[in-house]
């Protein structure tokens, strides 16, 4: 596994796509900090970038990379090692590559312009999202044989997480406003890793609003150790369950 990881990572760190991603993030991050006089405002804009762009790139990149290296993966699968270690090594390398790109493109400007807990939380939740969406990408790519379908599915999944889920919840909130639905909204939103990541960052950045009458409820929850533990657990499940699914599919797959 470590051998596959090592060489895949070497390949990925020189990969044009990964490099462009890092540079793109850096341009956005640095650009926002230069444009905005108020670093907090730049962070606010970066939140939107992280919550939308990072999952999209992680998904599409993983899907495309897995399809493009299919032949080489076959060659690896003929070598004396388990498929488990092949996929694990590749997945790990893709995660690390995404994280390195993010650390360079996002972490660096955050560290230089706005060191602090908001930046730290943004980086951490961005990293969690990268990992989760790399794994989801792997699940898609191992289950669908055709590249075009895989990329299409990646886009659908991204839309589901980034837009549709929130839209449905808001619709739910509207239509069921006569019922005591409100306490369920936060847990339901928290099931979506993007929403969860956003809430955690918002609790820091929009703390002032969150301390208001309704926000205090989840401030109390997520602000507590228990809440953070639950959040981390949900994130972990979002990485482990699709990861397990991808592994199962890959091990049974006809390459």
């Amino acid at each position: 596994m470590l051998k596959v990881f090592k060489y895949t990572l070497i390949d990925l760190l020189r990969n044009r796509f990964v490099l462009s991603y890092a540079v793109l993030l850096l341009a956005i991050g640095q650009g926002l900090f230069l444009l905005e006089e108020d670093p907090m405002k730049a962070i606010l804009s970066l939140v939107q970038v992280v919550m939308a762009l990072v999952p999209l790139i992680a998904l599409v990149f993983t899907v495309v990379y897995i399809y493009d290296t299919q032949e080489f993966t076959q060659l690896l699968a003929v070598q004396p090692m388990t498929r488990r270690s092949i996929l694990l090594g590749q997945l790990l390398a893709m995660c690390v590559a995404m994280l390195v790109a993010q650390a360079f493109g996002l972490g660096l400007p955050l560290l230089v312009h706005a060191p602090g807990s908001a930046s730290l939380l943004l980086s951490l939740s961005g990293s969690a999202l990268s990992i989760i969406f790399v794994v989801l990408g792997a699940l898609i790519a191992t289950r669908l044989r055709e590249k075009a379908r895989g990329v299409g599915m990646a886009l659908v999944v991204w839309l589901l997480f980034v837009l549709v889920h929130d839209a449905l919840l808001l619709a739910l909130l509207f239509t069921l406003s006569d019922y005591p639905i409100e306490p369920w909204i936060v847990p339901l939103a928290g099931l979506n890793p993007i929403d969860l990541a956003r809430i955690i960052v918002m609790l820091e950045i929009d703390l002032a609003a969150m301390m208001g009458y309704s926000g205090a409820v989840y401030k109390n929850f997520f602000g507590s150790n228990m809440g953070m533990l639950v959040a981390a657990l949900i994130m972990l499940l979002w990485a482990l369950v699709p990861g397990w699914g991808a592994m199962r599919a890959f091990q049974r797959k006809d390459l």
Partner: protein, 412 residues
């Protein structure tokens, strides 16, 4: 003041200055402070060293009490610590502690009652119930004191600097922490509050009730239950203050309730749950303030009328505005809104299309507070964009017709 009395006091003052304004020294083991006060003549000075613990010290003639470094007056929780009942008393450089906590009486570290021109300067009020209490005082000077309360239960806390029925007071450069209200004004007129810092007060950093024609300038209010509350008052001028990190369920940077003719200029509101709450006010003029990173920069209730908001900067707030009704009888013009997405074709510095600070999401959260969880989600920002183009929920009159394209330069 009657003329003979004035003359008498002037003559006395002159005589004292010229003849024999004595200086007394009091230290533990060398005489009692209370006895020295009684022995001293008017206008004498008493220098205090060490810890004086004689219960309540009562001053009934014009005297100057000066503490040397480390000097403490400890009231031993018997009532007030220092009680001032004469005009022209100065208390300087002392640490005062040991007030009695009571539900019946307003015991204070320094209690000043029905006098003129007391000067309370550079003292430390250490965990007092009320710290400095002025009642019926004219021309008080409360300057450069450090007033730190106790981390007690709120029922056992009282106000830091408390003024009741006073006039022409100057409250300047004090630091107040951990009291109920940092500075409390009730029936106080024509007074100035400058360069004070109030932090971690459980209720308000500064609280006005029925007080008129006062001005507070260049103060800092941080991490209080609410920064400043102005209630049932008129002609209050608020300039150059900083309201920061006043957060909580009913926390405001500045709470305005039933007040008229206020001036709010060049203040900074940062990181408060609500920057300014305007409830039932008339003719409030809000100009050139900075609102950044607040939960709600401005809560403007529909019962507010003829208020003007000009040249303010709204940046990075979760919500720039909210209201509770559909009526809007106030004016907004030439503010900078970081959410403004319009354009300025004629290049006059003002956007060509109006800005509607009440977004879809704001209205949604007003109706369903839990929707706050979607703050800054992609879906919600798309909806907000749509609301700017096709307004459907917000009161139509609530808009800025000439939004600034750039934040205005900070004014000196």
């Amino acid at each position: 003041m009657r003329l003979p009395a004035l003359l008498a006091s002037l003559i006395t003052a002159a005589w004292c200055n010229h003849a024999a304004a004595r200086t007394w020294r009091v230290a533990p083991g060398s005489g009692s402070l209370q006895q020295t006060i009684e022995r001293a003549a008017e206008r004498d000075t008493i220098l205090i060293e060490g810890v004086i613990a004689e219960g309540t010290i009562s001053i009934e003639k014009p005297l100057t009490l000066i503490g040397k470094p480390g000097a403490v007056i400890d009231g031993g929780e018997k009532g007030h610590v220092v009680l001032v009942k004469a005009d022209d008393v100065t208390i300087r450089g002392l640490t005062v502690r040991g007030t009695l906590v009571s539900n019946l009486y307003d015991y204070a570290g320094i209690h000043v009652n029905e006098v003129h021109r007391p000067a309370i300067e550079g003292n430390t009020l250490d965990r007092c119930f009320f710290a400095i209490y002025l009642s019926g005082v004219q021309g008080a000077r409360v300057i450069g004191n450090t007033v730190i309360g106790d981390d007690a239960l709120e029922e056992r806390m009282a106000n830091g600097i408390h003024l009741w029925k006073c006039k022409d007071a100057t409250i300047e450069g004090n630091r107040i922490e951990k009291h109920r209200d940092g500075i409390y004004f009730e029936f106080v007129t024509d007074s100035r509050i400058e360069r004070n810092e109030a932090r971690k007060c459980v209720r308000y950093g500064l609280h006005f009730m029925f007080s008129h024609r006062d001005a507070y300038t260049n103060n800092v209010f941080e991490e209080n239950g609410a920064g400043v509350a102005v209630m049932f008052s008129h002609h209050i001028t608020m300039t150059g203050n900083r309201f920061a990190t006043n957060r909580g369920g009913s926390a405001y940077g500045l709470l305005l309730k039933e007040i008229n003719d206020g001036e709010i200029t060049r203040n900074e509101f940062t990181d408060n749950t609500t920057g300014i709450m305007v409830d039932g006010c008339n003719r409030i003029h809000v100009e050139h303030n900075l609102f950044r990173m607040n939960g709600w920069a401005l809560r403007l209730y529909a019962n507010a009328t003829s208020c003007t908001f000009i040249g303010n900067t709204f940046s990075g707030n979760t919500f720039d505005m909210s209201t509770n009704g559909s009526l809007m009888l106030n004016r907004m013009e030439g503010n900078y809104w970081d959410r403004y997405t319009g354009y300025d074709l004629d290049r006059d510095g003002h956007g060509d299309v109006p800005h509607r600070p009440l977004g879809f999401f704001t209205m949604l959260v007003e109706r369903m507070p839990h929707a706050l969880v979607f703050s800054r989600s992609l879906f919600v920002s798309l909806l907000d964009r749509a609301e700017q183009v096709v307004p459907s929920l917000a009161p139509d009159a609530l808009k800025d017709d000439r939004p600034l394209m750039r934040p205005p330069k900070p004014q000196a």
